[in-house]
Symmetry: C2
Subunit: 330 residues, 2 copies
């Protein structure tokens, strides 16, 4: 498997570069510059391009070719970029992928407008690859945009609610993160004219991969190194975010530990110099291991859902991708 | 023509009520409430529903029925609502149609998110009426969303630029306002399976009606009565907006008049107690009559472009609509 793994890794890197180039060219020389320069700024901020790659692999998984789905792949990254730009405004985030966020580099109005136009640009790009199943593909895409908005709305709601449960949290990240990843697999499979059961398999893969991906993100927030991660370690605790780790800790903790956790809720976060204390509390409560187990569980569901896919090579590729995502350190 | 005019007016009122009801029901009982209540708030803010009505009439103009196009008609109003919500944030507007704007009633994050989801809801609604010409209809819709964003971007750009010309202004309102109205006519005609020349005729009608409509809006800002208009008279001058009226005045004025107008540019607006002075200056320079002439010119182009439409009754209806819009006082 080692040789194949190397090949998968190289293939992914190659596609990421291709997607990067296509994103850089997309809005080149477009007028007005006041709109398209900010759009290009976010489109050229790098990233894993996981979503684009999932569109391509899903098309291939059902017997199609990458070349049928590049515009759709781009559209998923463009849509993702829109969510980043608007979320960063709402979260007052200053950094994204190590760079100044759009609304800080320009201003809030520009960032709102750039995000808005990226939605339409995403639809436009997607339509180019809709030779068949157009209505169904667009409905799938629409639903994911709606779910992303619902998820973000719940996320904001949870910031001020004090009684969020783990199932509620899971529902929120399913909408905010997993729905878009699921959509990528679905539209890829539909562009490749996959059967209903193939589409369903890939959607299930995407959804569970998305959940694992978000939990890994939550975990990295506390164990990741700032340099690799591009964000500050412990940022979720500082902001008082009710992540899986936090809610699980709250569920398990007793006595003074519970009191300490409830303080985070009451104060809407902690001070930076308290991060280590809470990290140690998580370790004491075995939260990191529990989270890893949960990530493995979702990853297993994702990988097992690929049984309905006949193409062994793409199936292995998707399995490799899932495993490498949960083993990432940034 | 009197009897017909009465009928057209009654028909329009009837359809506006229908659209209002459909908009009120659209997101009823949807979860999360934190997202859909604000969305419903803007969807239920009334308005002329000109865009929806144009979709319906355009479908009928090419031989289709209203019943084929209600979802598309709704989608145009939903899309329009999105633009209002986001524009109001960017303009720091406090009132819209006599009610508190969304970002004031809730907060900026909620308003951003409500606008975002309205875009997807609009696409979703539109897709329901795409039985034929789906790709083309969606491309038309996409392009108008992109143009609206470009127009808004230019509008923001012009706020700080001191050398805006009338052609630049016309290009801006063509994108910001007319593109969406043109799109309504186009998708209505496409849903009704109109011929290429019918679609073109209706698009030309929509575009020029949109330009006339925006100039009338600019004019009403200075001559309208606050009670009818739902905004404050002279608001554009207070904000230093470079409208057609202002740019035309600047072009014509000499000596001290010109100096007074340049002060508006230099100070990015005027004080409320100066509105009357500038209104008198506009009158002295004949700006109101010149603007009315320009509105008539665009309206004539709109009406003349209907020559390619065979259905006399719908043609008369569209003609009546154009005339009643330019004669409106709010």
């Amino acid at each position: 498997m080692k040789i194949k793994t190397d090949r998968y890794s190289k293939d992914y890197t190659k596609e990421v570069e291709k997607i990067d180039k296509k994103l850089a060219k997309l809005l080149e020389n477009k007028e007005p510059k006041s709109l398209y320069k900010p759009c290009s700024y976010i489109l050229q901020s790098g990233g894993k391009h996981l979503r684009a790659y999932l569109v391509l692999l899903s098309t291939k998984a059902v017997g199609g070719k990458f070349s049928q789905a590049y515009n759709a792949a781009l559209s998923s990254e463009i849509l993702h970029s829109f969510t980043l730009v608007h979320d960063d405004i709402m979260d007052s985030a200053e950094k994204r992928r190590g760079r100044t966020t759009l609304h800080i580099k320009y201003d809030i109005s520009t960032a709102i407008l750039a995000g808005d136009s990226l939605i339409a640009v995403a639809y436009k790009s997607l339509l180019k690859d809709c030779k068949i199943n157009t209505t169904s593909i667009l409905n799938t895409f629409n639903e994911s945009v709606i779910e992303v908005c619902e998820g973000q709305s719940l996320d904001k709601e949870f910031e001020v609610r004090k009684d969020v449960t783990i199932p509620e949290y899971t529902n929120m990240i399913q909408k905010k993160t997993a729905a878009l990843i699921q959509m990528c697999c679905s539209i890829g499979a539909q562009i490749g004219n996959g059967s209903k059961s193939e589409i369903k398999s890939l959607e299930k893969y995407g959804k569970n991969l998305g959940l694992a991906f978000q939990l890994k993100d939550d975990l990295l927030d506390i164990i990741g190194h700032s340099k690799d991660f591009g964000k500050n370690v412990g940022g979720d605790l500082v902001e008082g975010k009710k992540t899986f780790l936090f809610l699980k800790a709250l569920e398990i903790a007793k006595g003074n530990d519970k009191k300490d956790l409830l303080k985070v809720v009451a104060n809407n976060g902690i001070r930076k110099n308290q991060i280590n204390k809470y990290k140690k509390l998580y370790e004491k409560l075995n939260i990191l291991a529990i989270t890893e187990k949960e990530i493995d569980r979702y990853t297993d569901i994702a990988i097992n859902s690929l049984k309905g896919i006949d193409n062994i090579d793409v199936k292995n590729n998707l399995t490799w991708l899932a495993n490498s995502l949960i083993n990432r350190n940034k």
